[in-house]
Symmetry: C2
Subunit: 356 residues, 2 copies
């Protein structure tokens, strides 16, 4: 192999994997350590890669807040492939798409992703995080807490030993989690989009159907802001049990439609929307003729009969941006300001909404 | 020059400038167009750069939402250096640091930045933007409107012909600007930090001094949230004229300190804080003995006597992230979700605050 080919191979390895040990490169390139070191020094002098203890990393001088190319640094990546941990509350609803986005972005950046699932159990959450950080040896953490972080999370979050990005959770103003980086869907904006779609179709009285969840308050906030700003009437207190809509709850919805002039519903989440549509049909309520329905989350909305118009949070992008932010933080270090990133959902019109 | 050196030179040019015309490279590398094309094809086949019409660009497959390396794309960058426009309301207060951050990041990414200043004049703002987009030929825009965008900005913003990132302005929920990308300091968090610092020093009754500005509502929001959450008393209605604190306004502050039990002030902005400190000293009020002061903005706070504890918004990082987001948008296109990024301010303790 000629020197030029070696250089290209080295650069490709670094580009693909983010960081590589010299011992791995020796094997991969098939030269002596002496030759490899000379190649690496040469490429580093050209600014094409960066020497770190025991290995090389990609040059990332194009990131905001990153040091100039000539500033000596010791990236947190060290000399091995970066390993990051990810803890989500569910591996079946909503989070599969977030995980997929995170995995793909980690692969692009040459990092390894280790997954933990808390199943909305707070003790399990603490345990999983401890295991990821201690046992799994992760260098950074993507964390979706089982509920919105509050004062009770203070000591735990402050004691985390690795840089952490909060995912799909919003820290209260000034609360202990507000000093973490965070990436989340802008659910208030998403709910606003859903109501605006209904308002554009001529609906004037709209109700929101929701179950208790860490996300519900933000969906409700957007729903109520939209009612106010768009001069509509309606209310947000039709509830759904954790087990799905009960007989009484379906009755409440039927009454809202038949007796209280409600012509459209925003239903969060959309698994409940699918069930609700079935119950309403059994009760003789036709969709979208009698009531238009916008589902929130877009997990299964397209599979309903009729397919449900839905607000789709950018789940995959949330995962990707969270990985990107965490790896920036690990690469650049603490000197750039913490950031909270909100990604905007989109509306996907289908057959469950029509002009009033 | 050997082929290896040529390749390195080409990669360095692309790395430094983001995108380069082939005609420029021919001159720079000093070879024939035939040789250059062969080199470029070779490097492109290795995935080390990307061929576009008339030139080459850096490979950016590591961005969230970016296409996979093997997907054919036509980056918005075309075959010339990217030119982006930036419109700010002031080139003397606050924005110099934002501009500096933007300029440095643009240089890192090989883009050219063209600046316009509206001087808080809305007609001037519209004119400058039209000139940047039409006459200046900018491909993207960083926009700080003279006031918070509202419904009246709808048609204008929708009619902008280039991707636009809103800088240091927050779009109202569902408003016309909410569909733009946005980067801003998290001023509510900043104000919270200032009040928490005072609370930690034992102050129980804190007043906020402010002038009308697009930023003031967010600072007030954080101030009031902090009073509530930290169980303090105080108020946010001590005003300052556009020309600086008037005689009566200084009198109001003196009365708050001498007659109403106020022991600490949050003053927004910090040019006013500096003036207020001088007036208070003339009135015989000693700082920090009689009243502690936290300035908001940290433009001139360190120059005051005594140097003022201040909340520092991450101005330079806001400029850098805005450029980064705009160039991602120009490179990746519209398929990734819009994002709103909030960057957290920090507290810089100096001599104007002390334990009560």
């Amino acid at each position: 192999m000629f020197v030029e080919q070696r250089h290209e191979l080295i650069l490709r390895e670094v580009s693909e994997r983010g960081s590589v040990r010299l011992t791995d490169l020796v094997e991969r390139v098939g030269v002596s350590m002496v030759t490899l070191r000379r190649d690496v020094e040469h490429l580093a002098a050209q600014g094409l890669l960066k020497r770190v203890h025991g290995g090389v990393t990609r040059v990332r001088t194009d990131l905001p807040g990153s040091p100039a190319a000539d500033t000596p640094t010791t990236p947190a990546t060290g000399d091995t492939t970066l390993t990051i941990g990810m803890l989500v509350p569910s591996a079946t609803y909503y989070y599969p798409a977030v995980i997929k986005g995170a995995r793909e972005q980690a692969a692009k950046l040459g990092a390894r992703l280790v997954l933990g699932v808390s199943r909305y159990d707070e003790a399990e959450e603490r345990l999983q995080v401890a295991q990821l950080v201690a046992g799994g040896g992760v260098e950074g953490l993507l964390l979706t807490t089982t509920r919105q972080p509050d004062e009770s999370h203070g000591d735990w979050l402050a004691g985390l030993k690795v840089p952490t990005v909060l995912v799909e959770r919003r820290a209260g103003l000034g609360g202990p989690a507000s000093l973490l980086d965070a990436v989340a869907s802008h659910h208030a904006h998403g709910a606003f989009l859903g109501v605006r779609h209904l308002a554009a179709l001529g609906h004037k009285r709209i109700a929101m159907v929701t179950r208790e969840s860490p996300t519900a308050p933000r969906v409700r906030q957007g729903f109520e802001a939209a009612l106010r700003d768009l001069d509509l009437s309606g209310y947000a207190d039709l509830g759904i049990d954790q087990e799905g809509p009960s007989h009484n709850q379906v009755g409440d919805v039927v009454r809202a439609v038949r007796a209280e002039g409600v012509t459209a519903l925003l239903v969060h989440n959309d698994e409940d929307a699918l069930l609700l549509v079935q119950h309403l049909r059994s009760a003789g309520v036709t969709i979208p003729d009698e009531v238009s329905i916008v589902a929130y989350d877009d997990e299964v909305a397209a599979l309903s009969d009729p397919p449900l118009t839905a607000v789709a949070p950018p789940k995959s992008a949330v995962g990707a941006h969270a990985v990107d932010l965490l790896i920036r933080r690990l690469t650049i270090g603490p000197q750039t300001p913490r950031q909270h990133i909100a990604l905007l959902p989109e509306l996907r019109p289908r057959a469950s909404t029509r002009p009033r």
